[in-house]
């Protein structure tokens, strides 16, 4: 009866899903390295470092989108503070990257440049151990996780939900942004961390490192998708959607929603932290503007565009919006806010189930996921089609 978790993790995936995953692996772990490293720069299929970094960045955003989808799409809790967890993960790893600069900073001192600039003589206590890679990894998970747990515990215990929860998370990330803007906080103030040189002693700007980071991001995304898939098809996932649709009923059949919400909320925050940690070395900078409320709310739009309540939708949405963004901000920078603004409005008005919802509608079907249709899951008949479970109008109203 006790099948190992890993086996069950994979057993949940239908064949089409496997095929997609294999394609993705081929793309991320074979084609991108070859196209970037092996092909000469003037080759038609050569992938420039701009593209590798951009795609790697978007992979991180996709992870964040999946994390957001788990909490919003499945548990019905809209967070406007996920940018905070992402940035905290980034800062936690950024501390390590700052220490890796060593004496190569512009002041040639042992301390990071911004501390020299502030005339600090030694590292603040919370920088202790930041030169250790393992400690940095621990912080990447622990800091967002702990903050989310504490905040979530108090918020969910008071049964704060819906709009109230959304606004309070926004206030939280806003307050954190103000805190990180201060020089005295010890995280570089306005400028944050930048000018990274190395990871584990290897140059951070080398093509090899770029490909490795890209591959790691891809691995993280694949892992998060598998984990998400496992979660939402487990009984846990069914309780989660049940909480979204009728929380009081869930309580009266003996589940304590507090623990369920807290678990998925904390997990979601940790995933964001991991994505942030991979994001920072790829873009080469982390500063407090990552915590601005606008960034967090944009995450919600990725998920809404793709289609919430579907893992594939979240990934698609993050991809579509961010590719559009990088095109717009290069070609028509002044129109990007208009586009994004109208996207918010249009998606909520016309595409309540996002691109995925539109696609299923065009194919004349509503609920079940496309993957499952191609090859019915070899699960018992009761195995649900949770991959696509758009909440109805009435339940959404109840979420307030």
């Amino acid at each position: 009866m006790r099948t190992p978790l890993t086996v069950r993790l994979f057993a949940k995936l239908p064949r089409a899903g496997w095929a997609a995953l294999a394609l993705f692996a081929l793309f991320a772990w074979v084609w991108v390295p070859v196209a970037h490293l092996a092909l000469p720069a003037d080759h038609a299929l050569h992938l420039s470092s701009y593209w590798v970094s951009l795609l790697g960045k978007i992979l991180c955003y996709m992870v964040v989108a999946v994390a957001m989808d788990l909490i919003w799409g499945y548990a019905g809790i809209l967070s406007l503070g996920h940018g905070l967890f992402f940035a905290l993960g980034g800062y936690a790893f950024g501390m390590y990257l700052m220490r890796q600069i060593g004496r190569d900073g512009s002041y040639g001192a042992d301390l990071p440049d911004f501390m020299v600039f502030l005339d600090w003589k030694e590292l603040p206590w919370y920088w202790t151990g930041s030169d250790s890679f393992l400690w940095a990894l621990l912080l990447v998970v622990a800091v967002p996780g702990l903050l989310a747990w504490v905040f979530g515990y108090f918020a969910f215990r008071s049964r704060i939900k819906g709009v109230y929860f959304a606004i309070i998370t926004q206030a939280l990330t806003y307050a954190a942004m103000l805190l990180f803007f201060r020089n005295e906080t010890g995280f570089g103030g306005n400028n944050g961390f930048t000018d990274f040189k190395r990871i584990l002693g290897y140059g951070i700007t080398t093509p090899e490192m770029r490909v490795i980071l890209f591959a790691l991001s891809a691995a993280l995304l694949a892992g998060v998708l598998l984990l998400g898939r496992y979660l939402v098809t487990s009984r846990f996932g069914r309780v989660l959607t049940a909480i979204r649709d009728a929380e009081s009923r869930v309580m009266f059949i003996g589940y304590n929603p507090l623990h369920y919400k807290l678990f998925i909320w904390t997990l979601s925050a940790v995933l964001c932290g991991l994505a942030g940690a991979l994001y920072v070395p790829q873009v080469g900078i982390i500063n407090p503007s990552e915590m601005s409320p606008a960034n967090s709310i944009e995450i919600a739009v990725w998920v809404a565009v793709g289609g919430r309540g579907t893992l594939v939708g979240a990934v698609l949405g993050a991809g579509i919006v961010n590719l559009a963004k990088s095109w717009f901000t290069v070609s028509f920078p002044e129109y990007w806010p208009f586009f994004l603004g109208f996207l918010f409005i249009a998606v909520t008005l016309f595409l309540p189930n996002g691109v995925i919802g539109l696609w299923s509608k065009l194919r004349g079907r509503h609920a079940p996921a496309t993957e499952e249709e191609a090859e019915p899951a070899p699960a018992p008949a009761a195995e649900p089609a949770v991959l696509t479970a758009p909440p109805t109008e009435s339940t959404r109203g109840a979420a307030a």
Binding site: L78, F154, A155, R157, S158, R159, I160, G162, V163, Y164, A166, I167, I168, Q170, A171, L172, Y174, A175, L178, L179, F181, R182, E247, S248, P293, A294, I297, A300, V301, A304, E334, P337, F338, L340, G341, F342, L343, F344, I345, V347, T348, L349, P352, E393, R396, G397, A398, A399, A400
Partner: protein, 543 residues
């Protein structure tokens, strides 16, 4: 010597000149001439002596003294044969104004350094202390308060006798007391120390502190009575400073609260009626502020003589502009999202992005400049460093006025009754014939319009730029949450309380920490009273 030779050549002129000089000197004497000894010191003494001389001249007062001081300040005062003369426009005169026949370059001009300049300022102030113009007297008194010396004591005492203006008198009193602090006579010191206790200036406190200091176990101030008086005076000043500061903090808290209230009133209406968090609410403030800017521009172009009253005209303009934007929002977007609060939240955020960018395109990304009208500039000074600015006082009153209007509308009009009915039970209100769709639009327009009024107010105290509204949505939502949805009195208490608490925390821990503390406080508050504010009590709780 070179200098003597022209003088010698014109020796025959001496007699008549001398006669003229004596005549003029006599006339000058009648109008209070400058003390000869002081002039002598000025001509021949070293720097220290010169400075003393300058002050003495200032203390002496009179037309001639004024001329000497002005000339020295302008670098026109010089020494010719041991006498002080003035060289101006290539002519040499004596201090009385009589022409001295001498070549200007024969005069050895007195050099002016910083110490001399300071002494000159003091001397000027001493002279100004008897000016007819009260503002000049006030400025003079302030200068003397900062650098008077014993030489000027008689001037100060004279001023104390003749001065009618209380404010100036008080400053002069302080100045005199400061001088007397260093007097040798303990009785004088005691009097001075006691007199300084009347001040509310922290700088005066610093002056008194040495009286309480010890050097190697012995008091710097030998007299115990003086020490006691100093301690009492320090305590009195501290008390006065603390009171003034607290009043200042409470006032700035109320001022912040009035802005929060203006922002939250509109939000409370729209949230109460439609359950929609309008994330573009802050941008409606911005619309109101830009409307004020446009009105200002129109006044400057067409009605320059009325420009001081543009703010009054901006009130309806701001209201209408924001209300119009609100109607468009409601009719085109929110109408279709009722009952889907989270979607509305995202959509209104989208609207806010569009509005910000539109402002950036139309008015440029920089802050625009708005001038306070004359009647709103300046302020009431409570104590040194604690000023209540008029613009904030006006806004406080304006917020009260808007609150009154909203109260009237909600409680005394048919629309208000409809709005309250829809807030409580939309379906039932619809059943009994309330035109809910129209009420929604109207309520949204009014809520938006009130935000526009908030923007008009805000334009008078802060920067007006495209992103000015972004910070307000969270704050005003907190006010609505704390005060309870649909309760005007609650909103007032919450806004003012939040404002005052924030300002006190700011003084104590800095603005950022204060913001975080307020957030923590609100979360803690929600812990304490979850149902009271977050849900209706009873069986309607979450179905």
């Amino acid at each position: 010597m070179k200098r003597t030779s022209p003088w010698a050549q014109r020796a025959w002129l001496i007699l008549p000149l001398l006669a003229a000089f004596l005549l003029l000197a006599a006339a000058g004497q009648a109008r209070a001439a400058v003390d000869e000894g002081a002039l002598q010191q000025l001509a021949t003494g070293d720097f220290g002596a010169r400075i003393a001389a300058i002050e003495a001249i200032g203390a002496g007062g009179g037309e001639e003294a004024r001329r000497v001081i002005a000339a020295l300040g302008a670098g026109e005062l010089g020494v010719l044969d041991g006498r002080v003369v003035i060289v101006r426009d290539g002519r040499v005169t004596d201090v009385g104004g009589a022409v001295v026949e001498a070549a200007p370059d024969a005069v050895d001009l007195l050099r002016v350094n910083n110490r001399v300049r300071r002494a000159l300022a003091t001397a000027n102030a001493a002279l100004d202390l008897s000016a007819d113009d009260a503002t000049r007297r006030l400025a003079a008194a302030q200068t003397l308060r900062d650098n008077a010396s014993e030489t000027l004591l008689p001037v100060l005492e004279r001023a104390l006798e003749s001065e009618q203006d209380d404010a100036i008198r008080e400053i002069v009193l302080l100045a005199a007391a400061k001088v007397n602090l260093n007097a040798d006579d303990p009785a004088k010191r005691l009097k001075a120390v006691t007199a300084l206790g009347e001040s509310s200036d922290p700088a005066v406190k610093a002056l008194l502190e040495p009286f309480m200091a010890q050097d190697n176990g012995t008091w710097r101030e030998p007299d115990a009575l003086v020490r006691e008086a100093a301690a009492a005076s320090i305590a009195a000043i501290e008390r006065r400073v603390a009171v003034a500061q607290n009043i200042g903090t409470v006032f700035s808290g109320l001022s912040l609260g009035s802005i929060l209230l203006l922002a939250a009133l509109g939000l409370a209406i729209t949230y109460g009626v439609m359950g929609v968090i309008n994330m573009a609410h802050g941008e409606l403030l911005m619309v109101g502020a830009y409307a004020t800017f446009v009105v200002q521009g129109l006044f400057r172009a067409h009605l320059p003589e009325w420009v001081d009253w543009y703010v009054v005209a901006a009130i309806p303009a701001g209201f209408l502009a924001a209300a119009a934007v609100g109607v468009v929002m409601e009719r085109s977007v929110l109408r279709f999202l009722y009952g889907r609060p989270l979607e509305s939240l995202l959509a209104t955020w989208g609207i806010s992005l569009v509005l910000i960018q539109a402002a950036r395109v139309v008015f440029g990304p920089q802050n625009v400049e708005l001038a306070n009208p004359v009647w709103m500039s300046g302020g009431v000074e409570l104590a040194a460093g604690v000023v209540l600015p008029w613009n904030r006082i006006v806004i406080l009153g304006f917020a009260a006025f808007v609150l009154f209007l909203v109260w009237l509308m909600m409680n005394r009009t048919r629309l208000g009754m409809f709005v309250r009915a829809v807030t409580q039970n939309r379906a039932m209100a619809g059943c009994v014939g309330v035109p809910t769709a129209r009420v929604d639009t109207l309520a949204f327009a009014i809520g938006a319009g009130i935000a526009g009024l908030g923007g008009v107010a805000l334009s008078q105290i802060s920067n007006v730029g495209p992103a000015m509204g972004t910070g307000y949505i969270v704050d005003s939502f907190m006010v609505v949450v704390l005060g309870g949805v649909g309760q005007l009195a609650g909103a007032v208490w919450a806004a003012m309380g939040l404002g005052i608490v924030s300002k006190f925390l700011e003084g104590w821990a800095g603005a950022v920490i204060a913001k975080i503390l307020v957030l923590v406080f609100i979360i803690a508050f929600i812990q304490k009273r979850p149902q009271g504010i977050f849900a209706l009590k009873g069986r309607f709780a979450d179905n």
